[in-house]
Each structure stands twice: as structure tokens, then as C-alpha cells.
Subunit: 549 residues, 2 copies
């Protein structure tokens, strides 16, 4: 049997484009003589459809699309993923299903049994887990078809009490196919390879695994679909961050070969290189799928906005990036120069809009209330918020989308102004710690100087009062970031982090800042997710809670 | 046996105050000669603890608090709720548990079987459902103890495939106790009474039901704990929106009597009266639990800000409300007068801060970019955002919390300015449709004129350009609100809504506006939830999706 794997970029709720894309790949694979083409989990509607799934019409549109797709499968079989109605009156209303389509008809339906409901996943919100397990016979092969998480319980301390493949194996399948929607995190590719390899080995079966590629707002799917032989040896690893179709010949469980040169990378990309690619795809798909073209952002001369500007120029083309310099009376000369150098290096558009008349107007207007109270965070935030109002006015006038430039370290400790520098349609580096932003800057400069060296080497400052430095209020980033990582990614307690050698007072202060800043993060834009624990839908915290705060 | 029900207001993560409150009520009930005191679900940590539950230290703190509580139960038994570690290596790491404590020790542990995971609930994110069901023997009684949702599957089309009471009934209990965390929605009290009555009848057992009271950020628990006799007759209904303790004598399954005058209301409060009480509690607890005292808001002379101001004055005291009038060149004279009348009626503080110098500064500064382009939404939003910057400056200078005054109708269709009037620490009426806001205004005026009549009768306007009216861009609210309700609360399709008699073009336009405004709602403050489907954590929508948009 000749199997095609289609690793494609879908758009949530866009049935027209998803269906057209699936059908065109069916025709293409048919021309190549494939017997079966495999698409990803919930490909018909895109992933995650979230509460669109609660609309009956949405589910009906999925079925309608599936029937259109089925009608095209005359000489070829296909596997697609979609939500379907659970016909049992007891339990959730839907199943997360795979259709096996042959000769224009749905020949078999497989429902997902293990429903991820952690971090960014909410599948048990919608779907009833399957308790029925059957293989599918096709052209002399017996296929054990599973959906994503169904294979993710071979580890110690699994999240589920059942293991679908243990049930399916009793029917003696000769191949496993798994359709998935597994989003990117910088450490996730290796984890994925290990889990799937482990399955191939455990069940002594070849395994075909098809993932999504492309971004859906904050979630970035990286592709990297996989093929293993029955011994667990990696046969192929599809490219990351791009669409790809590949063909394989499977004659028996032990006879499997790729029909083109495999794309297994010689050497794994480093974390920063992966994050770079993910962010580019994230920006590009955010604009493309929402129908916008031009980005704008405030360029301070600092490293965060410089890196975001460079990423946007790469993702959208420099002609689609409007960088705005918004100096105040506290902006240093080098900040303007560094920002101008960046604009020159990138070739993007720019405007210079000094904000001092605006901040003066606010301060004069507020004089009757503020009287002679000392300059404090109120005046600092007026600057940051004035910039946001200017940037949003440009968006409203010219149809730009504002890119947020906050990094994960400052989002964590609340070192940012709500309705000021925390504004934007999408946060580009809100899941990238400051120390990683520096690495990203150096990575962007790997071939030539894009981010001005002075931007990289000068001490970080918000420049909201004279001679301000981030380290006036925060620990050095090489202390702060590891503490944050232990707390946010690894959920360690203060005592555990202190035991690792960090200062007691610093640790408790940082963790308190993180929890107190929850109300700010609640109102920030969606953040492109590149780590296993990003702020946003994957980290749900009480606001008026009291733990560690 | 003498049973005490304790309907209390907890604070998420505040182990110190929760534990002290539980222990003080144990002592009080002991003095009253009670044999058993029953507290609510997850009372030890508060509900919802959300991802605090993913921190091992948080779970350890729960167990520590439970042991402190147990040590106080010498002459009295108690039931408390807390998360506990699931000792089975397979499945989720935690259980949602009830401890039955007797003679200073945990005598029995019951784990919740049915885990709500819809709307605002995420319990399957943390907890493994129980599959073991045992009654508890205590002083000659056999108690069927369940946790909240465990009793919510007697309906047609239930969400779960098991029914815990069907298992427990085989052990022949003589009483049911259910500890709950069931948040307010204006239609939820009747649903709750019906479901529980149905349980008492079905199993022919008396039923004691204890709920939370108090707000946790957006979620408002309304109390209303219930007691039914074995025939399903309502024996008692504890007060709504306040703490309450009540005692009952249970001698056998058929002999149950209250030990004080029951508080069953003669007549159900109307929806608007309930919403009023809920919002007062929501505001009060938001401030009290976050340690803030003073609220501020922009007073436009319109009905939304007037209603929010009146609610805040009632919740916090007028001396703790700073109303700010922020007229622009488009504000009409009557707007200022109406706002001033309201301030007089309430006796709250106020400031008049005209914003025209600020908006002039923005427009002058942006002249080189805007040139002679016509006045449009860019200039409109500058006004709204300038007000937000002024209000936030006052917050930063004086320690106020800004109240958001957006209503549900405008939040739905995106008729509001992100980073402008959509700002605030908490949204007070973001789950109240505009037509309900009018009803709320009339309700607030039920004894004397608080909301100026002119504010109620004049046509709604954002006053961001000359002679603007809401109906320039939106259908009349008595058309808009029913369409929104059908879509948001009932999840009807466009075709279904049109079939109800609404104009095709209007329906499609409104639904498109709702889905296009998702990116705005993502960045708005938490919204006090009073309906079965509020924007926020209970409604999770794709941003860059394509359904109906």
C-alpha cells in the first residue's frame, strides 16, 4: 500500500479553505498513485475550534465538509479528523473523530479515547472519550488508527487509566496511524519523537504520525510529522514550520520505505533557532488569517522592540512594517540613534512622533488633582500610555495591527504598563524570557548586524524617568529568569527554589510579584506560545487569590 | 443527630482566613450541641483555585489546613472539602475530596465522581473522577455524601455516563449530604432547587446541600443552601448573598426538622433584584479580597456609568467612590448636568477634568501623519483612550481601582474602545445587556430617584462625534439584545434566529460583529458573571477564526 502523509496549515472555522485544501491534496495524491492519504486531527475545522464546537451549526458544517471530501475519494482512501455528534444520550454531546473514507463513503469512524485537558487543552470540555476500539481493514492491511493523545500514555505516571493501543493490539494490526494536533514548544519535538518511538517499539508496528503546521492565534503547530518502522527506527521526519506531503510504501509490518529522500535533519536545530522559526510563522499566520497586512510597533531603541521589529520585517516584509519612534523627555539620544540604525538595517518604514506635548497636556490637565505630589508611577505610566494611544490612532487611521513587544520576564513580574506598552493585537515575545531575547538578537545577527550592537550591550531601561534601569526594581535577568522558570515552567515552591541556591528574599519577592501581576496579564493580548508554559489560555490563575501574594 | 450547615464566604488561596473561619464555626456549632457541621466543596482553599492546584505546595497547604481543622473536632464531627493527592499513579494527580472528620481524625474520604468541565468549570483539568462509592456511618445514621455535580445527572441527556447515588443507594443510606460550589446566574436558583428536589424524591431520602457564598473575582456564589425532606418537600432555603448557619434535627430518614425558623422566601426575587444583589456582592468582595478601598470611574451622563456608580456607592459607600466627569468638545450640556445630578443623589466624590487640551495635543502631534484625512474612528478613539489614561493616572496616584462600565450588548458587538472605555480592574455590568441595564436603573430608583430620569430616557450615545447615537451603528437595543441572547446564551445559528422573526441582514450583521470583536473581549477585565453565559473564562472563542465572520 502506498501511503501519503499531508502535513498542512488549516484555518479554524474556515471550512471553505480547509475543504478546498484537503480535496486538492486528495487529487494530487491520487495522481501519484497513493492508496491512502492521511490528514491531521480535526483538520476539517482546524485546531483549536474552542467553543465554536458548542454551536450545532458548526458541527453540521464539519459533517457537510466531510461529505464533500468523501465524494472526491473515488480511487483513493483518506483519513480526516472532525468533531461528530455522540449518539449516546449520556455523556458529552460530541466525539473527537477520525473518518476512514473509501470509495466515496465513510467506512469506519474512530473516536479519541484520551482527551487532553491540561495547559492549553480543553478537549474534555467538548468530547466524550471513546470506550470502543476496533482496527480498520484496508487492502490487506489492518490499521490501528488512533488520535494524538491516544498514544501518550506509555510514560510513568500517565494522566489516563486506559491505553487504547493495548486494546487494539489484540486485533493484530500490522500498522499504526496516528493523526495529531500537537503544538510547538521549544522542547516538545524530542518528547514527541521519544513517545512515538516508544509506541512503535512497544507494539512492534510501523507508525505513521501526521501533525498540523501553522499558527492559530497564539498556538503554533510545527509539523514535524513522523514515520517509524516496527523496530522504532525513525524512517522519516517531515520538515518543521512548513507544509509538506510525503509518500511511503508499506508492504507488510516489516517492509516500509519512503518514496522520496527522507527529510530527517542531520542535526536538531537549537532552541533559539526553533523559537525564531515559530515566531515568524506565528506573526505571518496571525496577519494572513485575520486579513491584515501591515504591522506597527513602538521602537524604543531597546532590545525587545528591536527584536520584534526584525521578526516582523522577516515575517511580513520590511515594507509592511511601520516602526514608530516615540521619544519623551527621558529618552536618551542613543535610544533614538539605535532605533534609527535598526530601521536602516531592516529597510522598514518609520515615523518619529515625539510625545512630550501630549504628556505635558496630561500633566497640566491633572494639575488640579495632582497638585504638587511628587513624580511617581502615575507620570511614568502616562508616558507609556500616551505612546499606546498614538500607536492605536495610527492603527485606526491606517489599518495597521499593533505588535506587542513585552517579554516574558517583564510580563511575569508585572514590569509593564497596562494599556501602555502591554497593548497590541498579538504579543510576539511574551513567551520569551529576557535572557532568551538577547540570544534571539544575537541569532538574528548571525549573518550580518541587524539588531544594533549598542541595543544589545546597553543596560535595559524603560526610560520613564531619568537614568532609570530595569535593575533598579528587578534582580539581574540572569538571576530573575531562572527563578521565573522554576516557578512558572516547573511550578516549584519558594522553598524548593531557595534550596537551589537563590536568595530567600529575592525568591519570595519575585514570586509575589508574579502572582500580584495576574490582573495585568489577564488583559494582555494573546501571546505566541513557544514554551511548555506560556501566559494565556494555558495558565489559568485566580486574580483575587492570595497564594504567595 | 443535630446537623449544622455553614454557608460561608471563603477567599481563594487564603488558608489563614479560611481555616480560621472554619474553626470558629466548628466551635460555635459545638457550643450549640451540634453533632455534625457541614462546610462547602473545596472550602479549605476556596473555589475556583484554578492552576494554583498545579502547585504541590498549594496542595500541601490544603492538607495542613485540614489537619489543623481536624484537631479542633473533638466533640463534633465535620465535613470539609479540599483537593487531595490521587495515590493511583494512573490518572490525574488530584481528587476533589470531602473529609469526614470525627474525634480529631479524618474518618472517611469521599472523592467527586462527576467533574464539571463546561462553561466556567475546569475540574477535569485537575481531578481524577472517583469510581469507588461508599456511605459513611455516624451516630446510627448512614450518610450518602456526594460533591456538587455528583447529583446533577438526573436530567435527560446528562453529561456523564455514571450516577453516584445509584451506587450509594445500594448501601441503604438514610440521609444525603451534598457539598457544593455552585455559582450564581439569574436563572440558576430554580434549576438548582429542581435538581436537588428531584434527587430527594428519586432516592426517598432527606438531603442537605451546602453552597458557597461570596465572590471570587468574576464568579459570584449566591449561597441559597437547601434542605429537603425524603418526600422532596423543601424544608429550608438559606439566605442568598450572605453568610448563614442553620441547624436541623434528623432522627430518622423521615424525621427531620429545622431548629430555627426556616428562611424560605415567600416569593422569589425577580431576575433584576437578584442581579442587583449579585453585583453588590461582586464589587464588595473584589475590593475587600484584593485589599483596595476606593473605586473610580468615568461618569459620562449616560446610563451605564450611572448604574455602575450607584452600584459602587451602595457596595463600598459613597465616600469610597470617586466619579470623574471627563467632558470633550462633543459632550452635551445635559451630559454634564445628568452626571452632576447623579453625584448629588449618591453623595459620592467627584472631579471634573475636561479632556480637550489632551485630545488637541494628540491631534496636533499626529498632524504630520494624519494630514488632512477626515475625522474618523481614530479621533473618536483618541477621546475614549485619553479618558482612560486620565482615570488610570488617578488610580496610580491615589490607589483607586478603575471600574469598567461596558454593558454586555456593546461588549458583544465590539461597540467600545479597547484601551479606552474597555479599561478597568473589574467589569461591573459586562454581563448585563443594555435592556437589563435600563431595568436595573429603574430598580435602583425603586424608592427614590438615584439615577436621574433624564439619564434613563435620553437616547444612548457615546458622544464621540457630533449628534452621535448608538442606533447610528447598531439596531435598537430591544432588537439587538434578543438576537444576542439567542446567539450567546442559546448558541442558535443565524438561520434559527432569522426563523424567530428577525431580519436576515440584521442577524447576520450582528453575529458577524460578535465574532469579529473577539480580539477586543480577550483583553477586557474580568466580568462579574450573572448570566448562564458570560464573556470571559466561561466562553472561550478563537480569535483568528473564521466562523460567521
Amino acid at each position: 500500500m502506498k501511503i501519503a502523509l499531508a502535513q498542512l496549515n488549516y484555518h479554524v472555522g474556515n471550512f471553505e479553505s480547509n475543504t478546498a485544501k484537503i480535496i486538492s491534496h486528495i487529487h494530487q495524491a491520487e495522481k501519484q498513485g497513493a492508496d491512502l492519504i492521511v490528514f491531521a486531527e480535526l483538520c476539517v475545522c482546524g485546531y483549536p475550534s474552542r467553543d465554536f464546537l458548542e454551536f450545532n451549526e458548526y458541527i453540521a458544517l464539519c459533517e457537510e465538509a466531510a461529505q464533500k471530501i468523501a465524494a472526491e475519494c473515488k480511487q483513493i482512501a483518506c483519513i480526516i479528523g472532525l468533531p461528530t455528534v455522540n449518539n449516546n444520550p449520556e455523556g458529552k454531546d460530541l466525539n473527537n473523530s477520525a473518518y476512514f473514507i473509501e470509495q466515496g463513503e465513510v467506512k469506519a469512524i474512530v473516536n479519541k479515547a484520551l482527551l487532553p485537558n491540561y495547559d492549553i487543552f480543553d478537549e474534555y470540555r467538548y468530547f466524550e472519550p471513546s470506550t470502543v476500539f476496533n482496527c480498520i481493514d484496508f487492502k490487506g492491511h489492518r490499521i490501528a488508527l488512533t488520535i494524538c493523545e491516544d498514544l501518550w500514555n506509555t510514560i510513568e505516571n500517565p494522566l489516563y487509566i486506559t491505553r487504547p493501543m493495548d486494546m487494539l493490539i489484540s486485533e493484530k494490526p500490522d500498522v499504526m496511524i496516528n493523526i495529531a494536533a500537537s503544538p510547538f514548544a521549544y522542547n516538545h519535538d524530542e518528547e514527541r519523537i521519544n513517545i512515538l518511538k516508544d509506541n512503535a517499539r512497544r507494539y512492534q508496528l510501523p507508525l505513521f504520525y501526521v501533525n498540523h503546521v501553522g499558527a492559530q492565534t497564539e498556538l503554533i503547530f510545527d509539523g514535524g510529522s513522523l514515520v517509524f518502522d516496527y523496530s522504532g527506527a525513525l524512517v522519516d521526519e517531515l520538515p518543521y514550520f512548513q507544509e509538506s506531503v510525503a509518500y511511503y510504501q508499506l508492504d507488510s509490518y516489516s517492509e516500509l520505505k519512503p518514496l522520496q529522500t527522507p527529510t530527517i535533519p542531520q542535526k536538531k536545530e537549537g532552541d533559539i533557532a526553533q523559537i525564531h522559526q515559530a515566531l515568524i510563522l506565528g506573526i505571518r499566520d496571525y496577519f494572513y488569517k485575520s486579513g491584515f497586512k501591515m504591522a506597527t510597533l513602538g521602537l524604543s531603541g531597546g532590545i525587545d522592540s528591536a527584536v520584534v521589529c526584525a521578526l516582523a520585517a522577516e515575517a511580513l516584509g520590511p515594507e509592511n512594517v511601520m516602526a514608530v519612534l516615540l521619544p519623551s523627555r527621558f529618552s536618551s539620544d542613543h535610544s533614538i540613534k539605535d532605533a534609527e540604525d535598526l530601521v536602516k538595517n531592516l529597510g522598514c518604514k518609520s515615523e518619529l512622533i515625539p510625545i512630550s506635548d501630549i504628556t505635558d497636556a496630561f500633566e497640566n490637565t491633572l494639575q488640579p488633582q495632582f497638585k504638587n505630589l511628587p513624580f511617581n508611577i502615575a507620570e511614568e505610566n502616562i508616558q507609556s500610555r500616551s505612546r499606546a494611544v498614538v500607536l492605536m490612532a495610527l492603527c485606526n487611521k491606517f489599518g495597521y495591527i499593533l505588535l506587542n513587544t513585552s517579554n516574558k520576564s517583564e510580563a511575569a513580574v508585572g514590569y509593564g504598563t497596562l494599556y501602555g506598552d502591554m497593548c497590541g493585537g498579538i504579543s510576539v515575545i511574551g513567551d520569551v524570557y529576557k535572557t532568551q531575547v538577547f540570544e534571539l538578537a544575537r541569532y538574528l545577527n548571525r549573518e550580518r548586524e541587524i539588531i544594533p550592537i549598542n541595543t544589545i550591550v546597553k543596560p535595559p531601561s524603560a526610560e520613564l524617568r531619568p537614568n532609570q534601569k530595569d535593575t533598579d526594581s528587578l534582580p539581574e535577568y540572569d538571576i530573575l529568569d531562572p527563578i521565573l522558570t522554576q516557578y512558572i515552567e516547573h511550578r516549584c515552591s519558594p522553598a524548593e527554589i531557595i534550596k537551589m541556591g537563590y536568595d530567600d528574599h529575592t525568591v519570595r519577592r519575585v514570586l509575589r510579584l508574579v502572582n500580584l501581576a495576574e490582573h495585568k496579564r489577564y488583559q494582555t493580548p494573546p501571546i505566541l506560545r513557544v514554551s511548555p508554559k506560556a501566559f494565556g489560555m494555558g495558565r489559568r490563575m485566580p486574580i483575587v487569590g492570595k497564594y504567595l501574594s
